[in-house]
Every structure is written in C-alpha cells, then in structure tokens.
Assembly symmetry: C2
Homo-oligomer: 231 residues x 2
C-alpha cells in the first residue's frame, strides 16, 4: 500500500526562512513521523519564496518582462501564451513565473537550482530528524497535447530519478524493451493529489513507494536537444 500524507501547518514562507526547519516542525505537529523509505515532496513555491525568488509583478508589463528575463529561449508564442525553455532546460509556459498563491502583486520564479534546493532540504531534515529521506521539489507543468496540468519534479535529492526496467524480464520472462518510468514525476503527481491547489498544503510525505538510492538530478529528465523531435 502507498500512502500520501499531507503536511499541514506550514506558515506563509518569506525570504530567508528555513524551509527544512518549517517542514520538520510541521511533520512533528502532524499525525505522522518521517520514516525510512518515505519520500518528501515539496512544492517549489515555498522553496522559491525562502530563496528570495520573488518579484514585484504589479502589472502585466512587469510580469511579461520577468518571463522574458527568466527564459533562456522562447520556443513558441501565441498571444499571451509563451512556451519557454528555462535555464535549467525545462520547457514550460511563462518560464515558470507564477502569480497564483502569492500575496500582494508578486510573482514567484523557479529556484535557481532546484536539485540543489532539494539537496539542502534533505541534508537539514536528516540533521534534524536523523532520517535520510529523498526530497523532490515539484512544480505544475502543462503538456503540449493534453489539456490540463500535472505536477512534475523540477528538483530531487537522494533517489534514482527513473524506475528503469530496461533489460529486466517482465512478468512473462521476456526482456522488456524501453520502459523507463519517470518515477520522480509520478511521485510528484501523486503528492499533488494530497496538496490541492487552493489549500495551503505545500508538503506531502509519499510512503510505500519502491525507490532506489541515487544521485541523479531532475534535470537528468530533460530530453537532450538532439533527441527532441518537437522543438
């Protein structure tokens, strides 16, 4: 059985806050302890806020300027919709600049290095609790051919990013072809089910998933330009 445990009680995060300490405090106040084998999923928004990746975007012009500044490349444009590649390599709308769930006329940018952010949270959580759990930093991305958005991983520390079945025999003993599951993305999507969008649940524990230790980064999931058929 897999469980997705929402961690409530994290206050509004501001620049300079210690996200790991806030998470540990909230977990301590929750019905659940952090256990070996758990995966901690943190929405990037509180990470970005703590890191000061927040800007004034009082009017549309300021917002648009922020999107252009954050984008490494513009992939497509149509009206107000801008599909960008970020400096991390992610292809997403508006370079990840997000105005929802931010107080005032502000907007949140993506963390400079979400893998590093995840690593920092993981180390501090381990120091505070004695439990070493992988940390995923998540964001909400659209898809080119499917309506609606899903949460994916933009940062990770402490686990293999793929569940790699290449070369393993399937249930019929046949060697499987290319089945590489983007495990950290599936975990991020699962965590979102417990978070909701208009409630203040920025962290969830995902318990019971089989994962392998690893030092991969979420940016490893970015498909290289040479393999990209849709740029």
């Amino acid at each position: 059985m897999i469980q997705i445990l929402p961690i409530k009680g994290i206050p509004e995060v501001e620049h300079g806050d210690d996200v790991a300490a806030l998470i540990v405090g909230a977990v301590t106040g929750s019905p659940w302890d952090l256990l070996v084998g758990d995966v901690l999923v943190v929405t990037h928004k509180i990470v970005s806020k703590a890191e000061g990746r927040i800007i004034d975007a009082g009017d549309e012009t300021a917002y648009r300027a922020a999107v252009e500044a954050e984008a490494k490349a513009i992939i497509r444009r149509r009206g107000d919709l801008v599909i960008t590649q970020t400096r991390h390599g992610f292809i997403c709308a508006n370079a990840g600049v997000d105005r929802s769930n931010v107080t005032g006329n502000r907007a949140v940018l993506l963390p400079i290095d979400p893998d590093r952010s995840a690593h920092g949270i993981r180390i501090k959580v381990r120091q505070a609790t004695g439990v070493d759990v992988p940390v995923i930093v998540s964001d909400t991305f659209g898809r080119p051919w499917r309506r609606g958005q899903t949460d994916i991983a933009i940062g990770v520390s402490g686990m293999a990013v793929m569940d790699d079945h290449k070369g393993k025999p399937d249930a019929n003993g046949r060697i499987m072809e290319a089945t590489e599951i983007a495990l950290i993305d599936e975990i991020a999507s699962a965590a979102d089910l417990a978070m909701g969008k208009s409630t203040r649940v920025p962290v969830a524990i995902v318990r019971g998933v089989e994962w392998e230790p690893g030092s991969g980064r979420a940016t490893d999931l970015v498909r290289p330009h040479s393999e990209d058929l849709f740029r």
Copy 2:
C-alpha cells in the same frame, strides 16, 4: 490521507474474459473493500486483452505494420521511433501498440473506445458490489521534452476529468488564472506507483482523492489541433 491499494490476484486475461468480474473477485480476495469515494484504476492492457485487441507480432515487420494500421496520423519519425496520433486523438509512440507483458509473440493494441471500456467496467462493478466508483483506464506514455514515461488516463467513467480551479479564489483570496489540473492523469500516475511494471498488479484502488462526479471522457483531455503549437 490518500491511499493507493494494489489489487493482486488477477489471472492472465484472455479474449472474452469479464474484466469487471475478475476485478471484483480480486478485490474480494484483497485486504480491502471497495468504498464510496474510491477510484478504480485499471491498466489498459487487461482491458485490451479481454476485448480481443491483441495481435500476432512475431517479427518486426508484423509489429511495424500494426503500428501503421493503428495510427490515424504519423506525427514524427526517426529510425524505429514513430510518434503517432491514434484514432482516439492521443499522441504517443507506436500508436500504443505494446509488446511488453504479453505472452508469446503477441502485441496489445489500445481498446477501440477506452472511455466506453471504463464505463462498462464501472456499471458491472456497481452491479456486483453495489458501490458506484469512477473507473480510469490507464496507459504509459512518453513526453516530448522529458525522458521517461508516466501513466496517464486513456479512458474514464464517473468523474470530472479536470480539477478546475479557474475562477476559484486561491489561498490568498486572489482569483486564480488558468489552473486546471488533469486530475485523472495524476490519479493514473499515482496508481502506477502501486502497480510496478514487471509485476502482475493491473488494478489499484485510489482512496481519499477529492473528485467531482462528471460524465467527461478521457478524450476530452486531447488538446484540439487548433490549440496545438507542436504538431
């Protein structure tokens, strides 16, 4: 808390089998009852097999011919990789023709109408158990800009496909912009965490998700050609 409960004990499915009856039997033999509010996720493979959507694909030529026959359109080609649009409208590799986890030299095609398949399972499960739960039929798709695959919904019955936050105030009272979560896709990804790829767990119960009743179809998530920037 959200729980993802793997349903084990479903035998190898063959053409003509009653998938709903097999699921009800397996749930009865599992530690869990089906409860109001649950969502039942079924991998398309057992649905396709029961519906006879299985072909002989003993050699590469037969497999390639099946892919071409199943595709409504070829979107991109590079070497052996064929990105297709299926008759349902889905854009995916190899028109969804799948050789993994099939006995013999066979391949599984997508169901003709996965929404209808989901509906049929839902009605029969309701008749057998008295509990009306939404049913999602899932498959494993790649993504153009991210390596690895994730499970998504190709069929659904009994729930709204989107968790629509358009126009609802966010946690700060601001009216949110376009945040439409593809809820059935996130549920499919979550269910995959309990299924694994090389084990025979083709069904999972997802418990504790907030969903709205609805009569939408998974094909509603197909982005219309007119909005597609990446065809």
